[in-house]
Point group: C2
Chain length 455, copies 2
């Protein structure tokens, strides 16, 4: 036989067993999204090049999957341009479309395109695959799902409060203990302001993040190495060593940032969210963490990140507030705040902690053994009765050896196998084997329906 046909690197097939787990993840997140008043939308896999290009930085442009124009794809390019062999310029000539790279830019495009139909604040969620021509590696794929929820058209911090509750609700349902880390871009801007080093924010957060690993002296040395003056490093000390509970962290920040208007605004915002959460029944810890700097150029207020407590893995959710989502498409002044759940990492965490509920698998509940044409004909209406009651059931389609049929039932973890031979056809009493306990008994089809419906 020929070699097995492959799939593009970085992509995956999902088997029924994997699908059951993935659907459990998507269904759980989706249910919580609905409960919080979010509504689903979907956008096309392909977007116009003009929508995507320049939105993810230079590196992102390279990682876009580009779709060759159909028909005569070369009619738009001259001979000398062909011979120039500049891959990016060439792509721009022969490709008008690309695969979506994330759900945020298509969402921004959606909001602008449909602004006349929307009633703001618009709370949407979107669960769809995205594609990136990244180098594939463990846990990094070229096709993967994102699960995003965003509110646009409202500046209220109550949206942030909602998102924290939503994160808490999702991970409670999964049974994953997490730390919900929170930062605020305005605080980072304030820090940069008071030390007069606006461009060093990333260096500072990266260095602070290493405190536990390399110790204070080494952090300070690294800051000096990055060109931050000694006086500024001194001012930073209370921030680098920021500790205690959230309240004492905020108190310290308020002191250090006393001269920065924007910094204090950030502290106020954090305080509002934390105060609001205190009256709510949040089960997971919420922690002020200044090292969060994800998407610095993108977020303008609150920044979220979620870490699993019992598994070593990167952040499993992240998000924040951005004040000008739709500005890139010519619609300024629309603020948004959102959160994205990382389905692939959640999948790994649930696997490692063995947290999938049994009900996640949705396999066949009852299989009828096929003993031949007459018996099969007798069984068909019985199978139909089970199905009409919503019970996943099947008659083995071929009248092959009993052993093969039973091993099919085993492979598929089918809990009940029904055997109908001549005596059962006469009595109407089916022989039912419980594949888990091994018990076997006789019962009518009505009794079987009741038994399985109850299980």
């Amino acid at each position: 036989m020929a070699t097995k046909p492959g799939i593009p690197k970085g992509t995956r097939d999902f088997s029924p067993a994997e699908m059951a787990k993935r659907n459990y993840i998507f269904d759980t997140i989706r249910e919580v999204f609905y409960t919080f008043g979010f509504q689903p939308i979907e956008t096309p896999a392909m977007e116009n090049f003009s929508t995507l290009m320049g939105k993810y930085g230079e590196e992102g442009d390279k990682l876009l999957f580009k779709i060759l124009n159909s028909g005569d794809c070369l009619n738009n390019i001259k001979d000398d341009e062909l011979l120039e062999r500049n891959a990016l310029k060439f792509a721009a000539k022969v490709c008008e479309k690309g695969l979506r790279y994330d759900l945020t830019v298509p969402f921004a495009r959606y909001v602008v395109a449909h602004r006349d139909e929307l009633s703001f604040p618009f709370k949407r969620f979107q669960i769809q695959p995205v594609w990136r021509a990244d180098r594939p590696q463990k846990g990094r794929y070229r096709e993967f799902y994102q699960c995003d929820a965003d509110v646009v058209g409202s500046d209220s911090l109550l949206n942030e409060v909602d998102l924290v509750q939503m994160i808490d609700a999702v991970y409670l349902k999964f049974g994953i203990r997490v730390s919900i880390k929170m930062n605020n871009r305005k605080i980072l801007t304030g820090i940069a302001e008071i030390i007069g080093q606006a461009d060093k924010i990333v260096d500072i957060t990266v260095a602070i993040d290493k405190l536990d690993k390399i110790g204070l002296d080494n952090v300070n040395a690294e800051l000096a190495e990055k060109g931050i003056p000694a006086k500024a490093i001194e001012t930073l000390q209370p921030i680098i060593q920021l500790s205690g509970d959230n309240r004492s962290k905020l108190a310290t920040l308020r002191t250090v940032l006393a001269t920065s208007e924007i910094g204090l605004k950030g502290v106020d915002e954090m305080e509002f969210v934390l105060n609001s959460l205190e009256h709510l029944d949040i089960k997971n810890e919420v922690e002020v963490d200044l090292t969060l700097a994800r998407g610095l150029n993108y977020y303008t207020g609150t920044i979220f990140e979620v870490k699993a407590l019992d598994v070593q893995i990167g952040s499993i959710s992240g998000g924040g507030r951005y004040d000008n989502l739709t500005g890139i498409f010519g619609m300024p002044g629309v603020s948004g705040v959102g959160i994205s759940f990382g389905a692939d990492r959640i999948y790994d965490v649930l696997n490692q902690l063995d947290l999938y509920p049994k009900s996640a698998a949705r396999g066949t509940q009852v299989m009828f053994v096929n003993f031949g044409a007459a018996e099969a004909a007798y069984c068909l209406p019985l199978v139909a009765k089970l199905r009409a009651a919503g019970i996943a059931s099947e008659l083995y389609p071929d009248s092959v050896k009993m052993k093969k049929q039973m091993s099919f039932a085993n492979d598929h973890a089918i809990p009940y196998v029904v055997m109908v031979g001549e005596s059962e056809m006469q009595s109407g009493q089916l022989s039912v084997k419980n594949m888990v306990t091994g018990e076997q008994g006789a019962m009518t089809i009505e009794e079987l329906v009741a038994l399985v419906a109850k299980a």
Copy 2:
């Protein structure tokens, strides 16, 4: 403001209202698939070019969306090949991947790639988008979903019986009255055999299909025009005028096809399926229809097509048996039979017949008006209580004019609006307005939970 950003032609955005309807369709079909023992798989949007090319005919190759190789896409092509400007040859050099064109070829690829893990018969369903660079027109899109269920690795006609029951179950759930049309490729082959015109099968079925419209004489004239000899046309008469119930149609066919072994085999197969169905409680009509010739080169046995009875539209489901699905990937001898539900056409039919159930919409059930900071803080734990009870609820995030908040509730068809001002905060009795009846009353949060949960 700039012009609204567009999307590639032939693609669509789906709004929350459209998503609710589409999800209702997918959920309904998915539930029935599960009940019949089918299990989900998913395959990547991108497949290797070698997997796709040559599987859909010359026209299909042209309609594949091709993905430009990432990195230096031109390193595999010489100058003279560039200047040759042959679009298809060029694409083969700079593209290694394409978007899937249907779910059948990826499924065949999946079965071959995973054959060692699979336990046959393998019953899979797959609900995913496919992409075709077809000229877009009303009801024809470049991105659309297919909903396929197939059984592979079993020759048993009981699978066909199952599929007819499944079609019946799906359309019963939708409330769409349909005619399930059935043909058999072996009968068509038999017909060609007895008149000695193997290559004229399509011409014959096309002509027969026009009987109602153009009358017998014109059908016969068309057949003659297509080069079918007078004697053969005479032999065809009982087939062209085939009428009556399924039993009498089969009896006629048995007579006409008496000398064709394969033709009689086809009649036997049809008879088995129809006989089996007679003992089952099928609500929609099943009709033998020789004009079904879909995918002639593809199907080898039963052919299905489903027509809506109350709406003028093309077939809304179709499928059949193919004896060599995986042969194209070097794994011969695996027979399969399947059915595909056309989600976009079902969408149109449900719309036209106004058959969407109210429960298909999954909007917010309860909105709290935001009267200011203190009131909002008071409301947060109440909203959380509703959500904990699984009731989709939200507090309007901004403390804006009452009118704006009420019109938000109206736009989103939110059935209950809660108003909590100073007196409600003191009494703990919430003012609840039923937006459908206009009634307003006072109740505790527990009473509200009970009220909405019951509704």
